[in-house]
Amino acid sequence: MEFLALIEQSSLAVWLRESPTVFAYATVLAVHTFGLALVVGLSTAVALRALGFAPGMALLPLGSLFPLMWVGFWLNAFTGVLLVTIDARLFLTMPTFYLKLLAIALAITSLRWLQTEVFEGRAPNGGVSAKGKRLAGATLLFWLVAITAGRVTAYDAYIGWETAAAVLVLGTLLLVGGHVGARMLRGSTRLERRTMSASRAAADM
């Protein structure tokens, strides 16, 4: 605990926390969000493609996005350490914060495995294996846990758990709603196609 207090009193932490300029704390936080956008955003796009969305998009060229994701990741590892020093005693004694770190570790691990499975594995022109799809789903889920845990470090633990439950409920509703909605849309287009081909057949006769 004394060591953590020492970190908070370091000149870097004091400057970050107390400097009136927006180029200290606020900018570090903003860069942390840039990193999130890069690593979570781009890996989400790749995961969605692996799950079967935008099927016309070639898989292999997506591999060139990974270096940008790692830029985002290291940007956040760096700014993350800076942000911890600002309030070291709070963050490093908070279970939620360790949950966030665990979720990030799991997300990055599944993303690495997904990269290997899809981009370095065999069958370059084939689809994505069932394992690849599971890894894509896992990556998305772990990012959601990481974002939720990260956000609620600013609140009391019980509010954090309530929020997690709310994220789960809303996420499930959106997922089910989207699935049903997509099926209905696809169903109606299939019906249209059938009606159209029927009328075309009638016209041919």
Binding site: L36, A45, L48, A54, M57, A58, Y158, I159, E162
Partner: protein
């Protein structure tokens, strides 16, 4: 005008909802971040491709991911409206007062508006149709590249000034 804005910007029912349930505000924050990631992940990917990153991709199929970006934008607008409409429940300040003094919030809204105009320009200049013909390994037209660069700049700018809002003037004094 001021009376009208003061009337529509404060949503009492939303304030009650936020006050009654402690999880509403952090849930909206999570939505805002998920929305941001979806928007940058898909729209940003499209912009990057136009600029030449991931050049092996044909442009047209990348568009099929853009509905996820629209979904992300909707998540962000819904949660962002909650922050504005329910602001009183959080810091007991009228959102109108923040809106007229907070330069970061103003810049953020202007940037979002400019991103909209930029998108409009993408369609009106015919670039939207032109890029559909850009195949694997091919360059997008210079104008499409310029529009993509502006889009990336504006969205990252939105993130930056968005983060600064709470460091700006929150009209707490009056």
């Amino acid at each position: 005008m001021e009376a009208f804005l003061r009337y529509i910007l404060r949503w009492p029912s939303l304030e009650h909802f936020i006050q009654a349930y402690a999880w509403v505000w952090p849930l909206a924050e999570v939505m805002h971040f998920v929305g941001l990631a979806l928007l940058i992940g898909t729209v940003g990917l499209f912009d990057l491709r136009l600029l030449g990153v991931g050049k092996g991709l044909a442009v047209a199929p990348v568009r099929r991911l853009l509905p996820w970006g629209v979904f992300g934008f909707v998540l962000s607008v819904v949660s962002g409206s909650l922050f504005v409409g329910g602001l009183w429940a959080n810091i007991a300040v009228h959102p109108y007062d923040v809106l007229i003094v907070n330069g970061y919030l103003q810049t953020k809204l202007i940037f979002i508006g400019l991103a909209g105009l930029n998108l409009l320009a993408f369609y009106l200049t015919g670039m939207s149709r032109a890029v559909d013909a850009v195949g694997p390994g091919e360059d997008a037209p210079p104008l499409a590249k310029a529009i993509a660069g502006v889009s990336l700049f504006l969205w990252f700018g939105v993130i930056y000034v968005g983060r600064l809002i709470v460091w700006g003037n929150l009209a707490l004094g009056g």
